[in-house]
């Protein structure tokens, strides 16, 4: 009967083109507004590392004290001293630290001009912890961190730019006049939001192009290209060594803790570490540490832009108004067919068949509205830039899942809107209809 009712539904849509057009437009515009804003919202609010987000924590230690910290919260990254000490302690299953670098890269053959590439100075655990996929080769080994090796991992995009996408493992790359041996090429990898680098406001930044060992970057005196927060009461000292061992925070640290018990253990270790610093006379306050999971960290840093949430709510409100209109239009459409309903009931259609027939007809309206909504959503993607910052706006795109969601939402919402009109249709008393005819 489904095909029969669908056929009747499509025939009914053709019968009242004006009414049908109004309904399809109401559904189409409503669903398009919702899907455009939803595409932005899902891009900025999704879990960037599903399956592992519950095991990853950023480590924060208050080195400022109650007078200078942020309303009792520790700074959003660690000092070089704390970061290297905590990673060296190896108290977590895996631990990584990094800072942002932007070395000058010299392409091979001196045929092109050098250019600045964004990257991270980090350690070998980074790749495993954040599930970085590789196209060629792999991460460097932990021994390379200890050995301060001149090795590098480059991104798929940089490999394309420098080596036309060929396997470049084993080849050399020149950065800031130092040569590095390429040990791995990542596949395209660009988690959004980039949860691990919120300190430098890179939640929606361009993809990272290269990685090199933290120890090596320190040895060659590579400066951070990210944020360097020295607070308001910090003595910078003089020279690089003073800065390096001072109280400026610029090194995010992440640990991988497989279960809540491990997290509890690590939090105790962290508290113990801060207490030691207090005993040593570095901190003049009680230990104030944090271990924030991925989602907690995204919430704390307010990664989802408020305009994204607001525009989604406005769009959903608009969609609701469209659907209320659709209820009225469907009611008018269905009740105009009271005589037909009466005949069908007289000929043996139980109420449930009337429900089926009209809900399937509503689904056909929803499908048509969904198709219109898809076209409008595709057009609307060009206008997202008017509502959002460019780096947010470019995240909105029409992919297969959004196509499916648009169609499903349009059909489901229209079927939902059709329940009342269908209920009214099913209540038609055949005797009255047939008598009045």
């Amino acid at each position: 009967m489904f095909a029969y009712y669908l056929q009747l539904g499509l025939r009914s849509l053709r019968r009242n083109p004006m009414l049908t057009a109004l309904m399809v437009m109401a559904v189409g515009f409503g669903v398009a507004a919702s899907m455009i804003t939803w595409s932005v919202f899902r891009a900025v609010s999704g879990d960037p590392i599903p399956g592992k987000s519950s095991q990853l924590y950023t480590v924060l230690v208050d080195n400022r004290g109650p007078q200078y910290n942020d309303n009792g919260e520790p700074p959003e990254a660690l000092t070089y001293t704390d970061a290297t000490a905590l990673v060296a302690a190896h108290k977590a299953a895996h631990q990584t630290l990094f800072f942002n670098v932007a070395p000058s890269v010299l392409p091979e053959g001196n045929q092109s001009l050098p250019f600045i590439a964004d990257g991270y100075a980090t350690n070998a655990d980074f790749f495993n912890m954040f599930e970085v996929p590789f196209e060629y080769g792999g991460a460097w080994r932990a021994g390379d961190d200890d050995g301060r090796a001149a090795v590098a991992v480059i991104s798929h995009e940089l490999n394309q730019q420098l080596f036309n996408g060929a396997n470049s493992v084993g080849r050399e790359i020149t950065m800031d006049r130092h040569s590095y041996r390429i040990v791995g090429v990542t596949a395209h990898w660009d988690p959004k939001p980039r949860f691990y680098d919120l300190f430098s406001h890179n939640a929606f930044g361009d993809p990272v192009q290269l990685y090199l060992p933290f120890t090596r970057a320190i040895d060659v005196a590579m400066d951070t290209s990210g944020r360097n927060n020295c607070g308001s009461n910090t003595d910078f000292g003089v020279g690089r060594e003073a800065w390096l061992h001072g109280e400026c925070v610029w090194v995010p640290v992440w640990v991988e803790l497989p279960d809540p018990a491990a997290a509890t253990g690590y939090r105790e270790f962290l508290t113990h570490y801060a207490a030691e610093q207090q005993r040593a006379g570095r901190f003049h306050w009680a230990p104030n540490v944090r271990l924030r999971g991925v989602n907690d960290w995204l919430d704390y840093e307010r990664v989802v832009p408020p305009e994204s949430r607001i525009s989604l709510m406005v769009a959903l409100g608009f969609f609701a108004i469209c659907m209320v209109n659709t209820i009225g239009l469907l009611l008018a459409k269905f009740m105009r067919r009271a005589a037909e309903i009466g005949v069908r009931r007289a000929l043996g259609a139980p109420r449930r068949e009337i429900y089926r027939q009209f809900l399937i007809e509503a689904a056909a309206v929803g499908l048509a509205g969904g198709v219109l909504g898809l076209l409008l959503t595709a057009l609307g993607m060009f206008g997202v830039g008017l509502l959002f910052e460019p780096e947010i706006a470019r995240l909105a795109h029409l992919d297969l899942s959004l196509v499916a969601t648009t169609l499903l939402v349009a059909i489901a919402a229209t079927v939902l809107a059709a329940f009342y009109p269908t209920w009214r249709a099913a209540q038609v008393q055949p005797a009255w209809q047939l008598k009045s005819n």
Binding site: V343, R345, A346, L347, R352, Q429, L434, K435, N437
Partner: protein
């Protein structure tokens, strides 16, 4: 086939109760052709809609083909309508968006019949009413008489035990009416039970038996419509 005993139908509003049928008794045997007559507002059509399970009744009993129908739910009533009853209405009640074939197919669809069997039954019904060549026509493309023939074909396609006709010739001119009536007589001769509501005495005279209704009660039964003696059959009912 159709037996109503002390049946009543009351329409209630906040201020008034109106009896459409009151202490209504009728017994239609299998294979009978019964004409139900009466003035406008006497309850003829209410009787027919209750008989066709299109409406519920307030009191009394109604047995259709041996089944007491008063406590049946919507599904069961719909199933009986679909399988045992054929309707012919004064206004034909064809669905304007469906062609002749599709109109006749409607009750067969609800019966869950397979496509091949549906097609065979539809074509047989159309042959019987002489409209096989009009299967693809829409109701608006047919005359009133042809539309009523299609309605009869739709009623016949499901091979119902009982055919209920409400003023089947009311909207037709004399010639078309004669054709439709001859068709009903032919269907009756083939063994169908027919209950026909009409206010046309000439039409009623063609039936096997007449039942006259006044003020919601049966007041006259006659085996031969040429006799016009009035004798009440319902307790205390007088016209």
């Amino acid at each position: 086939m159709l037996k109503m005993t002390h049946l009543s139908k009351v329409y209630r509003t906040e201020v008034v109760e109106t009896y459409a049928l009151r202490d209504f008794n009728i017994d239609v045997k299998e294979g009978e052709f019964v004409a139900v007559t009466g003035p406008s507002g006497s309850g003829k059509t209410t009787f027919l809609t209750i008989a066709g399970l299109l409406e519920t009744f307030t009191g009394g009993e109604y047995h259709l083909d041996g089944i007491e129908v008063s406590n049946l739910n919507d599904n069961a009533r719909s199933k009986i309508r679909n399988e045992k009853i054929g309707f012919i209405f004064q206004a034909f009640n064809l669905i304007p968006d469906l062609n002749v074939f599709d109109n006749i197919e409607v009750p067969l669809r609800y019966r869950g019949m397979k496509a091949a069997e549906r097609k065979q039954r539809i074509m047989e019904s159309l042959e019987r009413v002489g409209l096989a060549s009009r299967a693809k026509h829409y109701p608006a493309e047919l005359s009133g008489g042809q539309q009523q023939r299609v309605a009869i074909a739709r009623a016949l396609a499901g091979s119902p035990r009982l055919l209920l006709a409400d003023e089947p010739t009311g909207n037709l001119d004399t010639q078309m009416a004669r054709g439709v009536l001859e068709l009903l007589e032919e269907i009756h001769r083939d063994g169908a039970t027919i209950v026909m509501v009409t206010h046309d005495p000439e039409l009623a005279a063609r039936a096997q038996r007449n039942v006259h209704i006044i003020d919601g009660q049966v007041v006259e039964l006659s085996e031969d419509p040429r006799f016009h003696s009035v004798h009440a059959v319902a307790d205390g009912a007088h016209g």
